[in-house]
């Protein structure tokens, strides 16, 4: 039950969407792009966000594309997480996605909504960061393509009226060895205490994290430390943890110390498996 009223628009092209946004913005309608809508609906009900107009982007063809092309996997931002899982063109993304929310909710939650949302876990972005994916962004100035690490820094870096249209992931990344682990406060359901997604690209380990800080991130410096050839796993791990880019979360899901404990154990497990494989 949403107490406030808003207008609902469903444009069919990128240009129309951008134009609408501009126009509504000028009319002080505080427009919001609307994808799965799960977060918008829940935050509106609690009066935690304001809008007088939502622009549903699900009818925009490009936002629904799901193509495994010659070079790239194209994922429309309005694809639901279960659609992406079922097609399973990107196994690491499938693996991360399957742990987000629950199956029924993922029939509604979209890739773009998860990445652009306010709820700070945004777990679906992790695989995209690890694979140097490209983000296709539309807006009043037309369409632009940015590398993931530029487009997403803690949050989506979107200018006024801009929105995520799709992501492009190079095909060679899709088949690389990967692991993802989501550890929760207890058992199998709930927000992450930490989620780790890891990829082995040409012998180098890449790792991205959600739930550790108040935003998801991939840290090159942490990866460098993990990939150093000197020192035991433990030492490399400790060196890596020094480069966590922000204070570790200390909240109802868990304390900062415990998160670090869990992080270290989980990373150790991942690295051990890979290094054992490598040495075998």
């Amino acid at each position: 039950m949403i107490p406030v009223d808003f207008d609902y628009y469903k444009p069919e092209s990128i240009e129309e969407a951008a134009r609408l946004h501009e126009q509504l913005d000028r009319q002080k309608m505080l427009p919001l792009y609307y994808s799965g809508g799960t977060e918008i609906i829940t935050l509106l009900r609690l009066d935690l966000i304001q809008t007088k107009a939502v622009i549903d982007i699900k009818a925009i063809h490009e936002c629904r594309e799901h193509i495994l092309g010659e070079d790239y996997l194209v994922l429309g931002s309005s694809l639901t997480l279960t659609q992406i899982e079922e097609r399973n063109a990107f196994p690491l993304l499938t693996s991360v996605s399957k742990e987000i929310a629950d199956h029924t909710a993922r029939n509604k939650i979209t890739l773009g909504g998860n990445i652009c949302g306010e709820i700070f876990y945004r777990e679906a972005v992790l695989p995209l960061l690890l694979t140097d994916s490209l983000f296709v962004i539309g807006g009043p100035q037309g369409v632009k393509i940015l590398p993931a690490h530029e487009a997403f820094q803690q949050t989506m870096q979107l200018g006024r009226g801009e929105f995520l249209i799709q992501t492009l992931t190079r095909k060679d990344f899709l088949g690389m060895p990967y692991m993802s682990v989501k550890i929760r406060q207890q058992w199998e359901t709930g927000y992450p205490l930490v989620t780790i997604a890891a990829l082995k690209a040409k012998g180098e380990i890449r790792a991205a994290f959600s739930g550790l800080c108040s935003f998801p991130f991939r840290s090159k410096r942490m990866e460098d430390e993990l990939n150093r050839k000197d020192g035991t796993l433990d030492v490399r791990m400790d060196r890596a943890l020094r480069h966590i880019p922000a204070p570790v979360l200390n909240d109802i899901e868990g304390s900062a110390e415990y998160r670090l404990f869990v992080l270290k154990n989980t990373l150790t497990d991942i690295l051990t498996v890979w290094e054992v494989e490598q040495n075998a």
Binding site: W187, T189, G190, I252, F261
Partner: protein, 773 residues
């Protein structure tokens, strides 16, 4: 007939799988108004001002209410304004109520009300509340009206204290050779029924008040609205349709007062109030928290001699039922053991937390967590098997309970029988091998449980039976169908007694206090005992009438008649008789003369010889019988990560005669699930200001599908002589030992004593870290 014990499908099952089953919020009517709350964001604060001007401008707003001028409410102590007056005492406390034509407008207006607060420091635990110099949650408890057996202490946060003095503690200590002491604590948590509390209220032109509520206590609503708002009880009619889960949380009366004053404010129009989940968690009463200290002494052979117990219950911001919970925890302050010397002080303390309602088990799983953990400490110290220690000390006929009730074969179940059976099952089900993973260990923890129900000494239950022209029977009882299947079980009892197929019994599912006879409250697993006895009495009444009419019609003596399969007949010559059809609407002779009329059976039952407990010693008979059980939980623990899986949970419960096998199992397993969820992950997280940080199901997370262990349930059958067919209560016992058993299992697995709940991996990790220091 052989209906008792059969797994008869619940009567309302077809409705429940087709969406036809209706709960309070499912009823609507054109033109109904909606109410919406404004609640406090602070746990303790003065209300400086309330500005409703913007809210009043919202179209369709009909009334905005604040606490001023409203009577105080509360069952044990009348300390609670329905809407805050001058001060808020817990996060989520109701402050204003908006009534509007449409729900969205009510919500919009509610969001526009500006309340100016001046925050005060909060009392954030019962231990803090107990300390001298703690801020006072209520400045003047002495000004409040209170029940007969409640003893608040002015100038402190003590809302009530129950004392148990059995034997002579110093003698007990003298006779003891081995001692252990444990301190335990856990915070408040929630019932989290999937149906949030909701209610509609309407005042008719003649002044009749009509309430429909998702409640376990429709008759209490009637009584309390009557007394607080000075309305004759007969003018208040409360209806309760099916209830979507309750677990004690809907035994408190709260949202009904709000719906009532909302309707009163708009000229009696029908108003609906449905709590949002956030309100259901914060505003509505919760599950009680506890700080406990227990010191046990026993002989070197492990015979318990002394128990010294301090319970500090988190009574929250308002007393309501918490003095009663504190009393119940004291009455059964130990496990089901024979201990000659018991000293227990059980306090109910005001804090700035949401206040508690009863919770499945009524303070028993809570105190048993502390007590049964201490039993394990003792077993460890003695080097004795925990089951053996419990077996040795099990309470038996001839012993007395903490409130000095003499135990006989009927009033307490068979503890030793349960322990014995548990031991066998554990051996059968035990899979000690954790496989090849050296990090994993497996361990089992056990707990023994018992529970009596401290219910009002004059609690009663009534049943009316009416017959239909086809010879079938309508059963009307004030028991609310909250999911326990009690109404179906009553139908089984009636079918058995009347020797009719159970399909011939039509159960009235909804309760309507105007036409349904009273059943005190649908709590404490007493529906089958009290409702059942009333059914039996009503059936006897009906049978007598059937025989009376038949004896005239057949010209035989009543004693010579019997009934079976819808017929009344002559015992010696069964072919001479009449079908119920021919009798239950009166018998008509061939010439047209008629006798009798529709048969209406009636029966009622009141618990016998219940007594209030003595203020100084606790001596008294607070409830009719103790059902007992023995439980075990097996875990697989990861020694590095401190995570664990629950592999198995076992309950052996003495429930007397099993009335409906599958339903009883379902009750026990469901309760076990709730107990493991409570013990394993549920609690409110408070900030230092006393605010609850997890007030949605996203962050307050009950157990989900796939997280559950394998459940094993078995029954021991020691009849409770006074109960129909010898049945004992079964709705709660599955829960009682789960927290203790899980904590005992994890303490063994992790090699460290777990003394808090919930048992999340971080807590185990932290406890281990502290141990290392």
């Amino acid at each position: 007939m052989n209906i008792i014990g059969k797994s008869v499908i619940r009567k309302e099952a077809p409705d429940k799988v087709t969406g036809k089953a209706r709960y309070t919020d499912d009823f609507s009517s054109a033109g109904i108004y909606h109410a919406r709350l404004v609640t406090s964001p602070f746990a303790h604060a003065l209300i400086k001002s309330i500005d409703t001007r913007e809210a009043e401008k919202v179209s369709g707003v009909r009334a905005i209410l604040t606490g001023e001028g409203l009577p105080l409410t509360g069952e044990e102590i009348t300390d609670r304004p329905p809407l805050a007056q001058g001060k808020v005492r817990h996060h989520g406390e109701a402050v204003c109520l908006v009534v509007a034509e449409k729900l969205d407008k009510a919500a919009l207006a509610a969001s526009l009300i500006k309340v100016d607060y001046e925050p005060l420091s909060a009392v954030n635990s019962p231990s803090q509340a107990y300390q001298a110099g703690a801020p006072l949650v209520h400045e003047h408890v002495e000004h409040y009206k209170r029940g007969q057996n409640v003893y608040p202490e002015p100038g402190t946060n003590i809302a009530h204290k129950t004392k148990i003095r059995k034997g002579d503690l110093s003698r007990g200590i003298g006779e003891s050779a081995v001692f252990v002491e444990g301190r335990y604590s856990f915070g408040p948590s929630d019932h989290a029924a999937i149906e949030t509390r909701s209610c509609t209220a309407e005042i008719r032109a003649d002044g009749d008040v009509l309430i429909t509520s998702s409640s376990q206590a429709p008759f209490m609503i009637k009584k309390l609205i009557g007394s607080y708002f000075d309305i004759e009880a007969g003018k208040i009619i409360v209806k309760t349709p099916l209830v979507g889960g309750a677990y004690g949380g809907k035994a408190s009366v709260q949202w009904e007062f709000l719906a009532f004053i909302a309707s009163r404010a708009v000229g009696g129009k029908r108003v609906k109030l449905r709590y949002m989940r956030e309100e259901d968690i914060l505003t509505a009463p919760c599950h009680i928290g506890l700080d406990a200290t227990i010191r046990l002494g026993c002989t070197s052979e492990g015979i318990l001699k002394s128990a010294e117990i301090l319970y500090l219950f988190d009574g929250g911001a308002y007393a309501d039922k918490s003095p009663d919970l504190c009393r119940a925890g004291a009455v059964d302050c130990t496990g089901p053991y024979h201990i000659e010397h018991i000293w227990c002080d059980s306090y109910c303390l005001y804090t700035n937390h949401p206040y508690p309602a009863p919770f499945r088990g009524f303070a028993h799983s809570e105190v048993l967590f502390a007590f049964e953990r201490t039993m394990d400490l003792l077993a460890k110290k003695l080097g004795m098997d925990p089951l053996e220690l419990r077996f040795k000390n099990a309470i038996l006929p001839g012993h007395t309970t903490p409130t000095q009730v003499l135990v006989n074969k009927s009033n307490v179940g068979d503890v030793r029988g349960c322990i014995q059976r548990l031991k066998d099952i554990m051996e059968e089900e035990w899979e000690p091998n954790a496989g090849h993973d050296p990090r994993k260990v497996r361990a089992a923890g056990i707990a023994c449980v018992w529970k009596n129900s401290t219910i009002d000494t004059n609690a009663s239950s009534g049943v009316i039976l009416t017959f239909n022209p086809d010879g079938s029977v309508n059963l009307m009882s004030g028991v609310v169908e909250i999911g326990t299947g009690t109404k179906t079980i009553l139908a089984q009892m009636l079918a058995e007694k009347l020797r009719l197929p159970v399909e011939m019994i039509h159960v009235k599912m909804t309760v309507d206090t105007q036409t349904t006879p009273e059943h005190w409250k649908t709590v404490a697993s007493r529906g089958t005992l009290m409702g059942g006895r009333a059914v039996m009495a009503a059936a006897e009444d009906a049978i007598r009438q059937i025989k009376e009419i038949a004896s005239c019609a057949l010209r035989v003596r009543e004693e010579d008649l019997d009934i079976d399969s819808g017929r009344v007949f002559v015992k010696a010559e069964p072919e001479i008789g009449l079908s119920f059809k021919e009798v239950v609407y009166g018998y008509t002779y061939p010439n047209g003369n008629a006798i009798g009329g529709q048969i209406i059976g009636r029966g009622s039952y009141i618990l016998r010889n219940m007594t209030n407990i003595d203020k100084e010693t606790g001596a008294g008979r607070p409830g009719p019988e103790w059902a007992v059980g023995a439980q075990a939980v097996q875990v697989e623990f990861d020694t590095r990560d401190c995570t664990y899986r629950i592999l198995k949970a076992i309950s052996v419960v003495d429930i007397g005669r099993v009335l409906n096998e599958r339903a009883a199992r379902g009750q026990v397993m469901g309760a076990m699930s709730m107990g493991l969820s409570f013990a394993g992950r549920e609690t409110f997280y408070f900030d230092e200001m006393g605010r609850v940080l997890n007030f949605q199901l996203r962050t307050y997370r009950p157990i989900r599908y796939g997280e559950q262990p394998k459940y094993v349930v078995e029954f021991v059958n020691t009849p409770h002589v006074e109960a129909p067919f010898g049945a004992r209560g079964a709705g709660e016992h599955g829960l009682l030992g789960m927290p203790a058993a899980l904590a005992n299992a994890l303490s063994i697995a992790a090699g460290v004593e777990m003394i808090h709940l919930p048992l999340i991996p971080e807590l185990i990790w932290r406890t281990l870290q502290e141990g290392k220091r």
